[in-house]
């Protein structure tokens, strides 16, 4: 197990290093000089040079790359070109919207998908199964930002149960905060729930045809007992992997959903930064998202290996 973890850790570090180089390189080739963008076309050359040196833009590419990475390792993401505030502060503020939103959506997706998948597997080929499978086909085909707009139309504009957008802030209390994240979370969760329900169903169907399930029935367990005690528990292994992977989809997907609901999260920060050509913010937020995704995948791999010894020996 230790050797496997070590091997995965090395590949995690390689992935993160390559990712940082790629992101830095892409931002590097971006046309335009941030300093002249900030000061406008009539800026004097010496003012520009002073600003460049202040922003740390005057070193060699190599130097700047290591400054950037070294800074991030100690939590210093540089200073925003437009707001002149530390990027780490901006990210920390927005994180309190994006992260709870992704986790909320993950919870909803699991709560919808588990019963749906188990129900469908238990009634394989019957009308209930077909209905669930049909619904999941539809769920996969629905773009989440469109679904979000429909939720706003129904639950905010017509029924007035929720606000159409915006975030009240956690200062108002946990429940009002969750309330304003509910529609976005549902919009994010639904397509993922459809995928997860399908995975749950097929994982469970694989297990149901195993010999030990027949043994469980032969020793006198009812269908229901066998399903829950031996089926669902074993099907959880592949399903947990998918849940881990979904976290990254949800975090990335929240970028677009935040646009629909005008939520002050990382997604809006990125788009504001893009339109202001505040590339240091774009660079850092993208790196942070990639870091989160790669790290979560790493943790899922480890958890997977911990519960399934076959995986460890194979690698």
């Amino acid at each position: 197990m230790l050797r496997y973890a070590l091997k995965r850790l090395i590949s995690l570090l390689v992935s993160l290093s390559v990712a940082s180089v790629v992101i830095f390189a892409v931002i590097e080739v971006a046309p335009g000089d941030p300093a002249s963008f900030m000061l406008g076309v009539n800026a004097q050359e010496d003012t520009l040079a002073a600003l460049r040196s202040e922003l740390g833009l005057d070193g060699s590419k190599m130097q700047r790359y290591f400054n950037w990475v070294g800074g991030m390792l100690v939590g210093d993401f540089g200073t925003s070109y437009t707001y002149r505030t530390p990027v780490s502060q901006m990210i920390a503020d927005r994180m309190w919207v994006s992260l709870p939103l992704a986790l909320y959506a993950l919870m909803l997706s699991t709560l919808i998908a588990f019963p749906a998948g188990i129900y469908a597997a238990a009634r394989r080929g019957k009308p209930g199964d077909l209905a669930v499978m049909g619904a999941t086909q539809l769920g996969i085909a629905v773009p989440n930002f469109w679904f979000a707009m429909m939720l706003v139309l129904i639950f905010a504009i017509n029924l007035r149960w929720f606000n159409a957008g915006g975030f009240v802030g956690w200062g108002e209390g946990v429940l009002p905060g969750l309330h304003s994240l509910t529609l976005p979370a549902v919009a994010l969760a639904l397509p993922q729930a459809a995928i997860l329900a399908r995975v749950m169903r097929s994982a469970l169907l694989d297990i149901l045809s195993e010999d030990f399930m027949r043994t469980a029935r032969a020793k006198g367990l009812s269908r229901r007992q066998a399903l829950w005690r031996h089926g669902v528990r074993n099907a959880l292994i592949p399903v947990l992997t998918i849940i881990g992977l979904q976290f990254s989809f949800l975090l990335a997907g929240s970028i677009i959903i935040e646009q629909v609901f005008y939520l002050p999260g990382l997604g809006r920060l990125v788009f504001q930064a893009i339109s202001a050509r505040d590339l240091i913010v774009v660079e850092s937020v993208v790196m942070l998202l990639v870091f989160a995704v790669i790290t979560v995948n790493f943790l899922v791999d480890l958890a997977y290996a911990a519960v399934d010894p076959r995986l460890r020996s194979r690698s």
């Binding site: 990712a19 996969i140 085909a141 930002f145 469109w146 970028i255 998202l289 990639v290 995704v293 995948n297």
Partner: protein
């Protein structure tokens, strides 16, 4: 043929047909403004109604289909043209450093959240259909490389490949003449699925303003425009959304149906 296949083929061809017909005919000029008739709900003159500039939504949906299909199709093409040879090479040189490099490179691209990178690319190089295609296409490469390698590896163990080797054919020729035709079915099925994912990705990028730029109509863009008017003109949001759903659903059903139809094992089991 399964119901999935028929329904999927029907829905997909409906959309493709609309896109093709739009080259020669649309009910109205999709870009023609007609302010006096703005925001009309669906009616006899305008089947899908009109938008806030009085443009005919039916015509815009037809031309928008063109944008969606073109972006997704080229993105799938990029994935196939680059991914399949990589997968074939990796399989032919299994265990070599080349295989290792190709597969690790694939893992790396897989680990990236594709939407985030697509946003990065379009943010830096400018919004537009071409950059959207590249951004979506890059993430198709590892998908096709991996699926090709996986299928090719098991083929390399087969006797007819051994026979080809004995007859003196090189790895490249065997890959092209014997491996590729045998993985083609798999690639078609995967291509259909990536196509539908491409449609969704294009809609998402256009929605946030990073895809096709106006005046080129795109479904995502139409949804973005509709957002502030959804309370008094819901059809503006409803119709482009349904267009996306019909397309993606059709392609997914087509992919599922093709997989069952092309896989001889399933056909035998059913017969």
């Amino acid at each position: 043929m399964s119901r999935n296949l028929i329904l999927g083929a029907f829905l997909s061809s409906l959309v493709v047909l609309a896109a093709l017909i739009s080259f020669v005919w649309t009910p109205y000029d999709y870009a023609a403004l007609d302010i006096p008739n703005k925001l009309q709900p669906p009616n006899v003159q305008h089947w899908f109604g009109t938008d806030h500039f009085g443009r005919d939504i039916f015509s815009m949906i037809m031309v928008g289909a063109r944008t969606s299909i073109a972006v997704a199709l080229v993105a799938v093409g990029i994935g196939m043209v680059l991914g399949v040879p990589l997968g074939l090479t990796a399989a032919a040189r299994k265990g070599s450093w080349l295989d290792e490099v190709i597969m690790r490179g694939n893992d790396l691209v897989f680990a990236f959240p594709s939407l985030v990178i697509a946003i990065l690319i379009t943010a830096v190089f400018g919004a537009g259909a071409i950059n959207a295609i590249i951004a979506i296409g890059i993430f198709n490469i590892p998908v096709f490389a991996r699926i090709t390698r996986g299928a090719a590896l098991s083929l390399w163990e087969r006797e007819f490949i051994l026979a080809a080797r004995v007859s003196g054919k090189g790895a490249a020729r065997i890959s092209a003449e014997h491996i590729l035709p045998n993985v083609a079915n798999l690639l078609i099925v995967q291509g259909t699925i990536q196509f539908s994912l491409g449609i969704l990705a294009e809609a998402g990028l256009s929605y946030v303003g990073l895809g096709a730029q106006p005046p080129t109509p795109s479904w995502g863009r139409m949804l973005a425009d509709a957002q502030t008017m959804v309370s008094f003109a819901p059809h503006l949001a409803l119709i482009p959304g349904l267009a996306i759903i019909v397309t993606v659903l059709g392609l997914n059903l087509l992919g599922d149906g093709l997989r069952d139809w092309l896989d001889p094992r399933i056909r035998v089991a059913r017969a």
